[in-house]
């Protein structure tokens, strides 16, 4: 579990300082996961309001930031839950479609998976790479991305994700598979192989 723990205070600050103290960090935390500025702002506001109501539960063992991040995490899960209720889940036909995109009728790769040059994998911690990763994540359908975020960013166990999104294990597996196939290909096209072409050109 990861928290934006830059604030080390174990005492509770006054609510009218919260936006200054924690607003940006909570906003960033939310934005990486929900990807929409307006939604992230709304979730931060809801987090502060929930924190106000729950002030009595802050035991001072964790930092105030950690406590609020916990509330924020729940709000993000609530958002995914709501989004999941609002739309139809991807079904088996979409799964077949995905298979047809990447594999021929014999089940073999249509395009062989390229080797990623060491120079490009070593620069994966740079800001440029994050931007491409963001763009590739943005292309995923919401339901697929939300499942992937819960799994790969929040480290939530699969049973728990199924509960949050109200989907079956099979459906979750299909979504994560789709996310991984699409992200890998998108990163390959826009980062790993593009970087090589740039070097050669």
């Amino acid at each position: 579990m990861r928290n934006p723990e830059t604030s080390q205070r174990n005492t509770q600050s006054s609510p009218n300082e919260w936006v200054d103290l924690h607003g940006d960090a909570l906003y960033r935390f939310a934005l990486i996961r929900v990807r929409d500025h307006a939604v992230a702002e709304e979730i931060v506001q809801e987090t502060f309001l929930a924190a106000l109501r729950a002030q009595g539960t802050f035991a001072g063992q964790a930092t105030e930031r950690t406590w609020m991040t916990g509330i924020l995490r729940n709000k993000i899960a609530d958002h995914f839950r709501k989004q999941s209720r609002d739309r139809t889940t991807n079904d088996a036909s979409e799964q077949d479609e995905l298979t047809r995109v990447f594999f021929d009728k014999h089940g073999h790769w249509k395009n062989k998976v390229a080797s990623w040059p060491r120079s490009t994998t070593e620069s994966m911690s740079a800001g440029d790479f994050w931007r491409i990763l963001d763009q590739c994540m943005a292309k995923l359908p919401d339901g697929v991305r939300n499942a992937f975020v819960l799994r790969e960013m929040e480290g939530v166990k699969t049973e728990q994700i199924c509960k949050i999104l109200a989907i079956t294990t099979t459906n979750l597996g299909a979504r994560l598979y789709r996310a991984r196939m699409s992200l890998r290909q998108c990163l390959e096209r826009n980062w790993f192989l593009r970087e090589v072409q740039k070097d050669e050109g």
């Binding site: 934006p4 309001l49 998976v113 994998t121 911690s125």
Partner: protein, 98 residues
């Protein structure tokens, strides 16, 4: 029995990648685990797929670590949003259940 032998010896790339993805979320049953391994011996694309998928996973983890320590991206709430949220907080004094 026949199904098991077929899976072990004739796993296709589409099935193999599906199982590789599944293995990142839960332990695979023994048969499936061996089927993926045997397939990978002769399939370079699937070996790369597995490696690259795990590389992406660790890159994301790395990003979250960096993000949690420094304000590396300089993303901030807009002034407009800050003041709107501050107002909402100020207008909602904590109430005991009433």
């Amino acid at each position: 029995m026949w199904r098991s032998i077929k899976m072990l010896l004739a796993l296709k790339c589409d099935e193999s990648t599906r199982l590789v993805s599944q293995s990142l979320d839960q332990n695979l049953p023994t048969l499936e685990r061996w089927a993926v391994r045997l397939h990978a011996i002769s399939c370079r694309s699937c070996r790369r797929f597995r490696h690259q998928t795990m590389l992406i996973r660790s890159a994301i983890q790395q990003r979250l670590d960096v993000e949690s320590v420094t304000d590396v991206e300089r993303t901030r709430l807009s002034d407009e949003a800050s003041s709107r949220i501050a107002t909402a907080v100020a207008e909602n004094p904590s109430k005991d259940s009433s």
